[in-house]
Symmetry: C2
Amino acid sequence: MRRDLNGLLFPRSVVVVGATPIPGKLGNTVITNVSNFPGRVYAVNPKYTEVLGKPCYPSVSELPEPVDLAVIVIPAEGVPAVLRECGQKGIKNAVIISAGFKEIGKDGIQREREVVHIANEYELNVLGPNVLGLISTRVGLNATFAPRTALPGPIAFMSQSGAFCTSVLDWAWKEKLGFSHFVSLGNKAVLNECDFLLAFAEDPETRVIVAYLEGIQDGPRFMEIAREVTREKPVVILKAGRAEAGARAVSSHTGTLAGSDHAYDAAFRQCGVIRARTVEELFDFAYILSRQPLPKGRRIGIVTNAGGAGVMAADAAEWEGLTVARLRDETLQALAQTVPEEAAIYNPVDVVGHATLQQYQAALELVLADPGVDLAVALSAPHPILRFADLAQAVAQAQRKTGKPLTVSFMAGELGEEAEEVLRRAGIPSFFDPARAVRAVAVLAKYAEIRTRPKQAPPQYPVAREKARHILGEAQRRGRLRLGLEAMDLLSAYGIPVARGGLARTAEEAGRLAQELGTPVALKIVSPELTHKTEVGGVRLDVPPQEADRVAWELLRNVRSRFPEVQIEGVYVQEMLPPGREVIVGMARDPTFGPLLMFGLGGIYVEVLKDVAFAVAPLSRPEAEELVELVQGKKLLFGVRGQPTVAREALVELILRVSQLVAENPAIVELDLNPVLCYPDRVVAVDLRLTVSEEGI
Amino acid sequence: MRRDLNGLLFPRSVVVVGATPIPGKLGNTVITNVSNFPGRVYAVNPKYTEVLGKPCYPSVSELPEPVDLAVIVIPAEGVPAVLRECGQKGIKNAVIISAGFKEIGKDGIQREREVVHIANEYELNVLGPNVLGLISTRVGLNATFAPRTALPGPIAFMSQSGAFCTSVLDWAWKEKLGFSHFVSLGNKAVLNECDFLLAFAEDPETRVIVAYLEGIQDGPRFMEIAREVTREKPVVILKAGRAEAGARAVSSHTGTLAGSDHAYDAAFRQCGVIRARTVEELFDFAYILSRQPLPKGRRIGIVTNAGGAGVMAADAAEWEGLTVARLRDETLQALAQTVPEEAAIYNPVDVVGHATLQQYQAALELVLADPGVDLAVALSAPHPILRFADLAQAVAQAQRKTGKPLTVSFMAGELGEEAEEVLRRAGIPSFFDPARAVRAVAVLAKYAEIRTRPKQAPPQYPVAREKARHILGEAQRRGRLRLGLEAMDLLSAYGIPVARGGLARTAEEAGRLAQELGTPVALKIVSPELTHKTEVGGVRLDVPPQEADRVAWELLRNVRSRFPEVQIEGVYVQEMLPPGREVIVGMARDPTFGPLLMFGLGGIYVEVLKDVAFAVAPLSRPEAEELVELVQGKKLLFGVRGQPTVAREALVELILRVSQLVAENPAIVELDLNPVLCYPDRVVAVDLRLTVSEEGI
């Protein structure tokens, strides 16, 4: 559902319900802030006829007009009634600042349900409850109880933490960082991040969307919206709560590897959201993305008058995945004629300390103009012959001439303060630490790639969907929710290549199946209770077909005698395959984002080295290709000295088919194809573990 | 050599050679800065009898006394003569600010050699040339041409970049960061980082030693000194120039993996130097190490009145290798009685926004007092009922009571400024970003571990050193500088366990050797030119002893016919070993630090996953144990489900013996034991590559 939030974000008239002239009360702080709003402002409070010079009415229903926005600051108990009054009055937007809802447990949860119910009944856009409020500098409204308002600017900000909102407001004031909208999301009873993503995307004065989130409410909707929005505007999110996931034990099963944080990482990557690790990154990224143009590539030019700073910047460029640009000959020649003799003209270009302002600027312009340079940093230490403020002017001029993105590190304290003002006016971010300047400019390259990434729908292979549903339905009907090799047909139904084989109920049947296969076979015990087949002695490898019945008989006897209580379904008879590269393709359902695919190299790569990658299904082809690329050990698949490369296309297709399988069949709760054997000409799934939900196909 | 730098760092009398009253000249800036020195100050300049009120003499020899320190600011050509005069006069310490030496090439190099020569002749302590100068706030001397001096404080700082010195001075002034000594190292012709490490270590007012370095001149001496100094005082170094090494191609040979930056990482780790990645880290670490006590462990307590900040801090704790402390029951009970009902009493402790100052302070004191908490962060967002300055006082009080280390993140701008001053006076670092506060406090835990790490000398195994020297000498004599299996005796000489075997010159000899071994054998072609034996078809495995002569004959014939130009030494006949875990132990000589050992899991772990660790030899036992621990894949050696653990003790001893071998035999330029096979009861070196220097044993 696409909500019209214009009345919320661009209201023309506002009422503060619970406004009071008594200082120190929340309702007083809010009406004080709101009273600066240039539109029509009303108060509601039965005790007064006027509050801070604004007309005050005993109730919402007695207001002279259905205002665009109601800001509610009364004790929680009274909120549902007031909200209903708003609905009846025809008011479409409300901010519930009051606390005392979901966050306090039992009674509050019930009360919040009422709020949702009323909001649905009257189609109200409700922000909160339990919020700091919202600020729209676009219309001059501060509907919060914060001691500080926001400066106008191109950044739209939303935060799940109200405390963090006040922090950011106070800090941004000092840093002169401006916002178009500033929204405290609170309990997200009705409106959540998705609604604001859409609304901010539509606001022409918002250039960057920034959020602090502790969770996302509707993962699939978020991804759908974010995929589109990030093609238009950068979205930077600090999602806190990584540690929990990281602390989990790791095993070879997708279910335990796929902590929720992996899902956030994957989902953000797939839909082009830039994830900030820290508050510092969040606003460094937001600021530069709102002020600097996007580069064409990742090649950085570094200009400095202090050697050490250039070295530090080059180090940082490597960490950030930038390439230190190779300057073309024309640039080098021109530089040689421009800068002092001792200068280093190869990138990083060190014009040395006694370079004049003109020399520095000329060098920077030459570097920026080089077609091999996509973006740049300009660095300087204090030098007696250079005023930083002049240098800042020169840098800003150089940047305007070429239009290429740039950050600055003037490594100074007070000497650099005037320059900072010049740079701020020019929209050029400036940092003491050269590494931070490089990190900031690097995010532009990242976003430029996000904007231009291929846009493809997940492929839809023709599959035997009914057959798959039948297998899953049978498992549910029989109460066999953990399946293994006996469910290989499920994979075949989706065109996933599997090793030839079949389930034998008896030793004789095993012998027959082996003869049919006509090759040496692997015999694997099939039992829902024995999931570690090899460890319990339930596997025999490389059995000649003519011996299969005898070996199967022994195998069944041994396992039955060791585990008399365990139910044995039979023996899976499978063609022996030549050794190949083992990979694992798995899926677990993430509570937020749904089917989370995992890909990794098999065995120890997963268990010990944790070298795995995740993506939310369904995947497009480029996403499946990326999934394979994200694994560090990919070189083992596609080219180690003297070894053949495996069939990349076939592997990607297998992943895409698994993706379609799990996306179309929500009854599959967990899935592991482990191993999938990869060869130069094909890939084959050899073993399977599957968990089916108790109901629902 | 241990130099007496007292006259340099704590002079009582100073002369500025090249002092001038003409503003804008370097000699004027320097005498202006020096003129504030409370000791005796002289100028030397033939044109004046007085400069800035200080007595001026035509030459150094005419000075009325042999001052403690000469500061030289004259054109480079005149420097050697003046320096000689200093020596003749009995002046023992000089700072050569003048540029025009090594850094300008040819003439300058010659001139710098002269400086070194004169310094040696007269036993002069010379700082520079090409420096900003030095500041000793301990005696009130600013002998630099910087526009700003340093505030007094507990941090001793040295920098190889003069420009970075001016940056730091200006920035530190703004941040109110104080220094005991401030030294620009310049060309390091005579004095270098080692000399100042020693001198700063001895200064009782210096609590932390901080350096910006682009290289280290004498690696072994640096390590020897730093090992000792870091047990007394923290040493934090920003070593720039990582990127170069990281960019190198990686292969399975130690020589190419061991980029110089790996050597710096290893050397710093081994001698307890804390390496900062960025300028921000450098001074965050320096400040906290100079002001906060050391913790007993890594368990962090987190107290906040804003939930989001607590989550961010917990995330950061994980990145920094801290453990979020588990509070004991008594603490939890006491907290429950102290904080508001809605508070979260489990660590991170969220006292919630409306907690009073007293509640916040009580909670923080309870957390700090918990014996399970080693260090803490205190976090806050702006709240109407809390003044940050009061909260800062409360935090400082809580810290004083328990004496446990602490950092603060008050997430605010102007509202927090007064508090910052309070915290600064209390020596408590404070940051806007909670993650940065956690990173800072974490470095205390790191340094606490450095101080208490075991101190052990490298073991000295009794070895057949003469035999090893003989093998290396023979290789040099014959000009065979690349050796393989034929040099296995070299390993045996140092007690390194090797697979049984020997070199056969002929097929018949191979047969005889195999019969003697009495087991199936591996036959491996031995040729200095064919280093990839397997790839050229030069290996036969699992050959029964009775067939060894025939197979060896075929092998020799095949290889000779394929490579007719290549010299074949014979066939190495080696017992076949059962499969085991493969590891690689290698060594390359680093230009700075000397023998750099590498350890890793064999094959793809090295080539693809780059999962290797480095250490500078000779290693102590704890260092060898650490080397093994540093490899991520160590779990493959010591415990993966269902697999036996390999002999750790034997592996560590093998590494220690290799360490002794390469430390005692500088003629070994490069060495690779690859693979070393590891079993539950032993480890065995199976193959070897070795490069010998052309001369010198």
